[in-house]
């Protein structure tokens, strides 16, 4: 797959810390969604995604975040996307999804 996902549950902050490296596209987005959903079901808490090495996203990747969030919001959990590249952040803004997720750009 063109996407590498690393995740661990940080007991100190009580949240998931995830890095996604590569392309979140039609090839990888379903696997990403299922893997994150499984993790969240094990430990229901907020999810922080470090997007520093996320090279690409499109509507299929955005859709993965939406369906993940739709499950999480019943338990009041949120998704934070940090260190996003400008081209990726732009897509969240265009689609108004920056109002659904907590978006942070690369410093």
């Amino acid at each position: 797959m063109n996407l590498t996902i690393q995740k661990h549950y940080d007991t100190e902050t009580g949240a998931w810390r995830v890095t996604a490296k590569g392309d979140l596209d039609i090839f990888s987005s379903n696997v990403f969604r299922d893997e994150m959903l499984a993790a969240w079901s094990d430990e229901k808490s907020d999810i922080y995604i470090d997007g520093a090495d996320l090279a690409y996203i499109d509507s299929t990747g955005l859709g993965a975040f939406i369906s993940l969030y739709n499950k999480m919001k019943q338990d009041g959990n949120e998704i934070y996307l940090e260190n996003l590249k400008p081209n990726i952040q732009k897509l969240f803004v265009i689609t108004d999804l920056d109002e659904v997720f907590h978006i942070g750009a690369q410093q």
Partner: protein
């Protein structure tokens, strides 16, 4: 200059990166800046995502012009799913022209 590059891939997700590589290579050669190349990469993928589940092959034509890149993807149809609509919104926001045609979809990105 007015050249056409034809590309035909099996409608399988693993080949979508080939389309993106081709698109960014052509866009870079034409002198689009990094942001524009990214825009083109996303939009050509979105057009292919739309077609992916319905056809066996995806046929694309890249029109290489002096100051613009045009992209045609056969078999595109107006999206009904939420995700498909997001894709369409992205395409119409990032390309200069997005036009549904009898054959599919026609997009133009002009150099600034």
């Amino acid at each position: 200059m007015n050249h056409t590059v034809h590309l035909r891939i099996p409608a399988e997700p693993m080949y979508i990166s080939v389309v993106r590589l081709t698109a960014s290579s052509l866009a870079s050669s034409l002198g689009f800046d990094i942001e524009e190349v990214e825009d083109i990469r996303v939009c050509v993928s979105e057009a292919c995502n739309n077609v992916m589940d319905r056809l066996e092959d995806i046929s694309l034509r890249f029109g290489v012009e002096e100051n613009a890149l045009t992209i045609d993807v056969d078999g595109f149809s107006s999206p009904s799913s939420e995700q498909g609509k997001l894709g369409y919104l992205i395409m119409s926001s990032l390309m200069d022209v997005v036009q549904e045609t009898e054959q599919g979809i026609h997009m133009i990105k002009a150099k600034e």
